[in-house]
């Protein structure tokens, strides 16, 4: 007969007993660190000992999951400790009344620790699940110039833009989401939400919603969204007011009108650059001695450059994404072009850095791999860094990063 086990009051007492033993072990230095497996293995050990009672048992392990051998050991060692604490003496099968077969498995959500406890013909099964954690990110190898990403924030709701505000006494993060602006303070080694301001708007936003949050001179910040503009108050208490407006967005030292029902700029800049521009997704500026070189990422996938004389298409940019910004650094010519290379929302993206030599792009750093498609890429107020938002394909979260360029690495 096969049945499953459940927690009873007696089991809970056993868990408490095991936890006390673990605490004592930790106090004497025998257990150096608490791992994510300790609580689940304590729960499993409690359920197993509720079936076997004290006495001899044979324990076997198999791993059908993707867990590494080191993780298997990190489960097996505390489980054995906890079983012993519960009065189970681990022996070979010939000298045991019970057989405990532990299998490490997984489903789409959880790692599973499954114990089949056999006593004669009777087999009972207990299953403990542990939510799968997110994996860490990887920083690419360096070259003369290196693109660096610095993690800011992760959340389930799409992040549209972020801005860091440094003052003499505090450091704040402004996070623009689809429905709110969050103001975070850096305390105790992490960003803590201080205030959240809802974004009110009359019409529905486009599906591929884009937006910017920009720090201001006489008040804290302005928010630019399709058909909507918001501004913070100039004095305490901090408030935010939103209004329906088609005011142009800041772009490369000018203002650019954004299509309120779509995901692109209309092509109209204020003041104009001297050429009639087609609609574009993004633009970047590269300073030259006597002029500014403008680059536009068009809706047709073409990248165009305008040098105050002519607007022409840059060849061989088929693998460029539609997001680009210019970034100031102490490296190379002092300003680099940062370009995404996304396919669509189903594939992971990467960032590339270019300098324009004789109006041709020249890649100057190793690409920076991201954990998913880049959904937003905007420059900081001083253009010394950029904010990149990635829709992490592993976790489903939106991760915001600050991107910078370092030299001589």
């Amino acid at each position: 007969m096969i049945s499953t086990g459940y927690n009873s009051r007696q089991q809970m007492l056993k868990i408490i007993r095991i936890v006390i033993v673990l605490s004592i072990l930790a106090g004497t230095g025998q257990l150096l660190a608490v791992t994510r497996w300790d609580a689940p293995t304590a729960r499993l050990a409690s359920q197993i000992t509720a079936i076997t009672g004290p006495g001899n048992a044979a324990l076997s392990f198999q791993n059908l999951s993707a867990l590494a051998p080191s993780e298997v050991a990190a489960i097996r060692v505390p489980l054995e400790t906890q079983l012993r604490a519960g009065g189970v003496q681990l022996r070979d099968a010939a000298n045991s009344a019970s057989e405990i077969k532990v299998t490490l498995s997984e489903n789409v959500r959880e790692w599973l620790i499954v114990a089949e406890v056999r006593q004669g013909l009777d087999v009972k099964v207990v299953i403990v699940g542990v939510d799968k954690g997110s994996s860490g990110s990887v920083t690419p190898a360096g070259s003369a110039m290196v693109l660096r990403k610095s993690f800011l924030m992760s959340q389930r709701d799409p992040i549209l833009d972020a801005a860091i505000v440094d003052s003499a006494s505090a450091r704040s993060l402004l996070l623009l989401s689809r429905s709110s602006v969050g103001v975070y303070a850096w305390t105790a080694g992490r960003w803590n939400l201080q205030q959240s301001f809802p974004i009110t708007h009359g019409q529905s936003f486009p599906a591929d919603l884009r937006g910017r949050i920009v720090t201001a001179q006489d008040h804290l910040f302005d928010v630019y969204l399709p058909g909507v503009g918001c501004s913070s108050s100039a004095s305490a208490p901090l408030t935010m007011n939103c209004r329906d407006t088609d005011d142009p967005w800041p772009l490369g030292g000018r203002k650019a009108f954004f299509n309120s029902a779509r995901n692109y700029f209309t092509g109209i800049l204020v003041p104009g650059v001297g050429a009639q521009l087609p609609p574009f997704f993004s633009a970047a500026t590269l300073p030259r001695v006597n002029y500014t070189l403008w680059l536009f990422s068009g809706l047709d996938g073409q990248v165009r450059v305008y040098d105050s004389v002519e607007l022409r298409t840059i060849p061989n940019t088929r693998d460029w994404g539609s997001d680009m910004v210019s970034l100031k650094s102490a490296c190379g010519v002092g300003t680099q072009l940062l370009v995404s290379t996304a396919g669509d929302d189903t594939v992971a993206d990467s960032l590339h850095a270019y300098e324009m030599v004789d109006r041709e792009p020249n890649e100057v750093a190793a690409q920076l791999a991201m954990d998913g498609p880049i959904t937003a890429l905007w420059p900081s107020a001083d253009a010394g860094s950029a904010t990149a938002v990635v829709h992490n394909l592993q976790t489903g979260q939106y991760d915001a990063y600050t991107i910078t360029i370092a030299c001589n690495q």
């Binding site: 499953t4 959880e110 599973l112 591929d208 997704f281």
Partner: protein, 447 residues
């Protein structure tokens, strides 16, 4: 050895088999997406409903409940009373703002609902249940609990990304809903044509008369050979044998167990489905539970003969399959051969000819939540035995174990859903239900 991790990797959602996106840009707006299906014209309205209506909640691909029309919820009294806070700024296709009264009216009329009453409380909705319903938010994500009304001509009015332009006929046309609360879709419209044979669908795809077509699991290899850009879901379709509760020949559980032990599932998978899918060890797929190693599924003719010899068989057991479905017919014929090898007299025939002992069924998982999925399968095939939805994995395992040991459902295979798509499609993925996530798709301009 087959391991869960390997299976997870193989059956990962939205595995692209051929063709990759080469355009590198933000989404473009515009265009009509043309979808073709073999679904009879009489049923294509059900396809449309997925794009037109929404529920209070949704289930993601990991089986986790997510907010949809309800922004958040809370339970009291041990899961007997639930309160749902509705999202503001949601509009129906006729411009009406979604209210708690609309939700109450829609949910109070649903058949098979696990609640006693639903009532509005200001801008929130209160759901009262007689028994604890620990998975009520997950349950509300089921298609059958979508929130919608109909106009005077019977056209669905929902809150979804597309609105219907008229009552379904041989085809339906859906138009982007400009005021959709999650943002207007990139596509301007979607045309769905039903009753198209597979050959016609694939031909239309090849000459750019359709952008999305069906690829049955048994045809995935062929689609690959024809270089059709194909997306596969996880293994979401269960193929199983369901003994009739009226069958005298199968009243004894040992005869049902004998049939289960006699079937060579691996051959069914390898020969008929050309290894696309997995042997169904349990009633739920392993990517959902992770414990299929606890069940045995290999053919065991010795056990089958032993069990069969313990029971006196009266007459020949009849297995039925969907009339006109050549794959089901093939599957049924192979099951008959396996049964005969175990000394069980069995014959097959199309459904509806006469009373049958065993039905061959092919059904899609109703949810990626394991408790709900098992509950829905049980409710479909054993309606008299449906219990409350199990919320924890130990209880789900116990329920599944009980169903398998009594062989009241005999799982055979799990196979993926698959679709072929035009090279112009971008952001083309399958949703948690294994169907194309059309609200996210955009189309590359014609070259």
């Amino acid at each position: 050895m087959r391991t869960p991790s390997r299976l997870l990797a193989i059956s990962s959602l939205g595995l692209a088999l051929a063709g990759t996106a080469d355009a590198r840009t933000r989404p473009h707006y515009g265009g009509e997406l043309r979808v073709e299906s073999a679904t009879p014209n009489s049923s294509i309205g059900t396809i449309a409903a997925d794009f037109v209506t929404e529920s209070l909640t949704s289930i993601d691909s990991d089986g986790q409940v997510q907010p949809l029309l309800a922004e958040r919820w809370d339970s009291q009294n041990g899961g007997r009373r639930w309160q749902f806070w509705l999202r503001t700024n949601v509009r129906f296709h006729d411009g009406k703002v979604l209210s708690a009264a609309d939700v109450t009216e829609a949910l109070n009329n649903k058949r098979g609902a696990p609640w006693r009453t639903v009532r509005a409380n200001g801008s929130t909705v209160i759901v009262e249940c007689d028994d604890p319903q620990l998975l009520l938010p997950e349950t509300l994500a089921l298609r059958q609990f979508a929130i919608f009304s109909t106009d005077t001509s019977g056209v669905l009015i929902g809150t979804g990304p597309f609105r219907l332009t008229g009552a379904p006929g041989t085809s339906i046309k859906l138009v982007a809903f400009d005021d959709y609360w999650q943002g207007r879709t990139y596509l301007d419209s979607v045309g769905v044509t039903g009753g198209r044979g597979l050959r016609d669908q694939w031909l239309d795809l090849s000459v750019a008369r359709a952008e999305i077509v069906e690829v049955p699991a048994e045809q995935i290899r062929r689609a690959q050979q024809e270089r059709i850009r194909t997306l596969l879901s996880r293994n979401m379709e269960l193929i199983a044998l369901v003994p009739s509760t009226n069958s005298q020949a199968l009243q004894d559980a040992r005869m049902r167990q004998a049939i289960s032990a006699a079937v060579d599932r691996t051959s069914l998978l390898n020969v008929i489905f050309q290894k696309q899918g997995e042997v169904a060890t349990g009633i739920l797929p392993n990517w959902m539970t992770g414990y299929d190693f606890l069940f045995s599924s290999g053919q065991n003719l010795a056990l089958a003969r032993d069990l069969r010899n313990q029971v006196k068989q009266n007459g020949t057991i009849t297995i039925s399959y969907e009339s006109g479905d050549s794959i089901q017919q093939l599957l049924a014929e192979r099951v008959v051969l396996n049964a005969r090898d175990a000394g069980i007299a069995m014959q097959s025939g199309p459904r509806g000819v006469r009373e049958v002992d065993l039905e061959l069924v092919r059904t899609s998982l109703a949810s990626t939540n394991s408790g709900l999925a098992l509950h829905q399968i049980t409710a479909s095939f054993l309606p008299d035995e449906t219990e409350a939805v199990a919320a924890d994995l130990n209880s789900i395992y116990a329920d599944e174990r009980e169903l398998l040991s009594s062989a009241r459902i005999i799982p055979l295979l799990y196979v993926p859903r698959a679709f072929g798509g035009s090279p112009r499609l971008r952001n083309w993925t399958l949703g948690p239900d294994g169907l194309p996530a059309i609200a996210q798709i955009w189309m590359e301009d014609r070259r």
